[in-house]
Symmetry: C2
Subunit: 149 residues, 2 copies
């Protein structure tokens, strides 16, 4: 009843698109007994031999304590391992174990498949332009935030 806002508010439309696209995969995750924060950690670890907690926090798009907890749970399940940094002993590095990598690969495959399915079902074919735009948006925003500090 006020002037409209949300439909033109970028964070809102980003979140809405994410949710409708992610929903089916989140159901699969639940079936696998994997938390969303754990999935994000696994998906990142899969693309790195090992990574520090700080970098993992950034790329897994989750707060540091959330990542810390998720990694602890994954470690208990034998899916990841932690190593203290040698040069800088404050750092902890995390890496997938064999079984962790296997699970991560499987989940990534399912994520990809689910995404493809959803998109083709909606007659959407070329995503690459949109992905590029969003990556560019993120890069510019991140750069400008760094520049401020």
């Amino acid at each position: 009843m006020n002037e409209p806002f949300l439909d033109g508010y970028l964070p809102y439309v980003l979140r809405r698109a994410d949710q409708v696209l992610s929903a089916p995969f989140y159901q699969l995750l639940t079936q696998h007994g994997v938390q969303r924060s754990e999935w994000r950690v696994l998906a990142v670890l899969r693309e790195h031999d090992s990574i520090s907690m700080t970098d993992l926090t950034t790329t897994a798009l989750s707060p540091q304590p959330t990542v810390s907890h998720a990694v602890a749970r994954l470690a208990e399940r034998g899916l990841v391992q932690r190593f203290r940094g040698t040069h800088d002993k404050r750092l902890w590095f995390v890496a997938c174990t064999e079984s962790g990598r296997a699970l991560a690969d499987k989940l990534v495959l399912e994520a990809h498949h689910t995404e493809t399915e959803a998109l083709s079902g909606a007659s959407i074919h070329d995503i690459s332009g949109l992905v590029e735009e969003l990556n560019s948006l993120h890069t510019k925003l991140a750069d400008s935030l760094v520049a401020q500090s």
Copy 2:
């Protein structure tokens, strides 16, 4: 160390863009003592005279119990009111009170300002194309999901 996936995975880049764009506003929210789920509810209510819980759940992009709790907290603070449906008594309708509407308007103003600031700081000016693309993506996906059921 595997073939890259995340940087081309739409849900990931959507979430990443959302986070970097939303971060500064979330800090403001915290200062106002408003939860994110509460913000989403208020922002939706602001655009409706009144709305059913089901519709609110959908548009606030949050699970039903989360919305139910958020509305309960907002009601305790006198920011929203609930009315039982007259025709269908299972429905509950929610609406802003005066003070709720005032808070919602203030928050929307700050959200808009924060977004504009972040974008201009990153030399990003025309967002409308991207917003349109994302809205179209959402509409197509939502339609195709409905068609399936």
